[in-house]
Symmetry: C2
Subunit: 367 residues, 2 copies
């Protein structure tokens, strides 16, 4: 079921909201108290366009929290599960952050600008409240605030060619998860080779709404030969490609180790971080959970909510972000299985409890 | 403009969501990541019913954070601007909470259950993140967590009579902003004489979704002689009656003293709280802001966003939560004026900048 949403000052529109409307956005979500388009034509049509061409997205909901001051790097270390004993300028770092008990609070993207300046691009939870609470009694000489940054993503197989032609050939030298500053209309724009799809592309972070809108209009016009469309992060594309969504697929009830994010975490660094003790105990003493892809049914079941998955009579987990995959011709979603050693053997029979009754399912590791 | 909202697991429905749908809810907002109905028939129709009869509201979005442990009261003191040198069990306290700089983080309702147990009912900001951050380095022996509480409000001039007849005559002895436990189907239910309207009534806090739904159905059936309807907090009623909404009318850029909440604050208690130093400096050294009612235009201008207010050429503030008041036959809203001593003299001419041009306005203190 979809809902009608009353306009409110408790959530933000963005400089691009009217442009999304012009481009025919049909549905939104609220993400970090900001409007984020979810559908233009349909999940399926948007998906096929995204994986074949190039789309421009308003992802201003990826709020930027700036940590600024002589202790910026130390504060970053204090709040991150990722090992930042060494860190490189002009690099982006996918960084889980946890609470005192090791529960995941956010899967962030850290922009290391310089020793005094760190930007944290957050998924959907209020990390400014968390950082501000921590800072009251932590002895870090930093200022922490939300920056008014307006982010445009160009994503899709043609995104790189388009960007190269229109912005600067130098952009080709950006490696995956790095960033640099480029010139647009005499304004410095932060461009990172990142984005919430597996189709390739860039994200453009503007601190000036007017310039950002001029960039938007410029790209729409010049992108026509590339068959560019205004789009948004696509649920089908992200689920097929194992891109998790905080709040949907994992929450503070999970540690990073329960949902495939252990590879971005360490407990071996010399310094302490919030949650390090708890995560150390968890790794050494407790049976961990693990996240899988679950596939079931060959017709689109149009499922809009979570479903439970069973091994014989026993519930083994809950399936989230369920879509029908055009690629695999199956319904599929993510599942944090209560047991890490859940078998992915193809002969193993699992069942999903749907409105149409029990349907057989297969489980695969995230690739 | 209203938006279509895509269903997502990043926000919660409530045990009553299907019942709201049955009752004909037409629009929602997202409040504390939870669905909150905003309109059933129309703001105006809902308003007239509310001020004449009795409504049942699903306000489960008023999330309850429980502070539990030997230091519960000390932690409450640490995070509250309100003077809790003395505090009474079974009382509710409207309590502003601020950040380190004295910026308002939330206007909460505190339920003081006992020395070990405090419930904080929050408006729309993630106070669990704030409390959890503070707790990491504060030496308070407490556990803090979100409780799964499902809250029903009965509001309207007939709410008290209805409740008395159906629940327990003892409920009549509850004074304003006090609470007690009552029996419904052999379950203890917390009932407080509170609610987000000025029409009178109660709030019922259930920790059992099944019992809560049985209560809902019972009230719908037995409330028929009272012409009960399912409703929701009504924007017209709250603006006419000076009930502020955090995130709409005041934010973390305002101190409690800037928006009429100074009367719930103190800097004279013997203990320290987060923001006390900053608020003390602010009170003694800075020119404060103040919040007013602004009235303008005699036809419903159907305004959906904030508007700026001017004294001659000078902007004096921004008007929020604008509605057309059936009572005053004017458009009206709130304004935090940049200067506390903004004149409310009736001869003084102010102007609001609308799409129809400048319209003359009057300013009044909140009554």
């Amino acid at each position: 079921m979809d809902y009608k949403l009353t306009q409110s000052s408790r959530f933000d529109s963005t400089p691009f909201t009217s442009r999304n409307a012009l481009a025919g956005v049909s549905s939104y979500t609220i993400y970090n108290k900001t409007l984020l388009p979810t559908i233009f034509n349909s999940y399926e049509e948007d998906y096929h366009h995204l994986i074949n061409h190039v789309q421009m997205w308003d992802v201003s909901c990826q709020k930027i929290i700036e940590i600024k001051g002589p202790d910026a790097l130390n504060f970053l270390r204090y709040v991150s599960c990722r090992n930042f004993e060494t860190i490189d300028k002009f690099k982006c770092y996918y960084t889980p952050m946890t609470d005192f008990n090791g529960g995941l609070l956010n899967d962030t993207l850290v922009y290391f600008i310089d020793n005094d300046t760190v930007w944290v691009s957050i998924s959907d939870s209020d990390m400014l409240m968390w950082f501000s609470g921590l800072l009251v009694n932590a002895n870090h000489n930093v200022e922490i605030k939300k920056r008014d940054i307006y982010t445009i993503a160009l994503q899709g197989p043609k995104a790189i060619k388009l960007t190269e032609e229109l912005i600067d050939k130098k952009i080709l030298s950006l490696s995956f998860f790095s960033f640099d500053f480029f010139n647009f209309k005499n304004t410095q724009v932060l461009v990172s080779k990142t984005g919430y799809s597996k189709q390739g592309g860039f994200e453009f972070l503007f601190d000036n709404a007017k310039i950002a809108c001029e960039f938007w209009d410029f790209i729409i016009e010049e992108g026509k030969p590339f068959y560019i469309k205004v789009g948004c992060p696509n649920m089908i594309e992200r689920v097929e490609n194992a891109l998790l969504s905080y709040g949907n697929d994992m929450t503070s009830r999970d540690t990073p180790y329960d949902c495939s994010l252990g590879k971005y975490c360490s407990i071996d660094m010399s310094y302490d971080f919030v949650g390090k003790n708890s995560l150390t105990k968890y790794i050494n003493n407790f049976e961990k959970k693990n996240i899988f892809h679950v596939f079931f049914g060959e017709n689109d079941l149009k499922i809009k909510s979570k479903l439970k998955c069973y091994d014989d009579q026993k519930e083994i987990g809950e399936i989230t972000s369920i879509i029908f995959s055009p690629k695999f011709k199956k319904n599929m979603g993510f599942m944090i299985a209560y047991k890490k050693d859940t078998s992915t053997d193809k002969s193993k029979k699992y069942f999903v409890n749907t409105e149409q009754g029990l349907i057989q399912a297969t489980i695969l590791n995230l690739s």
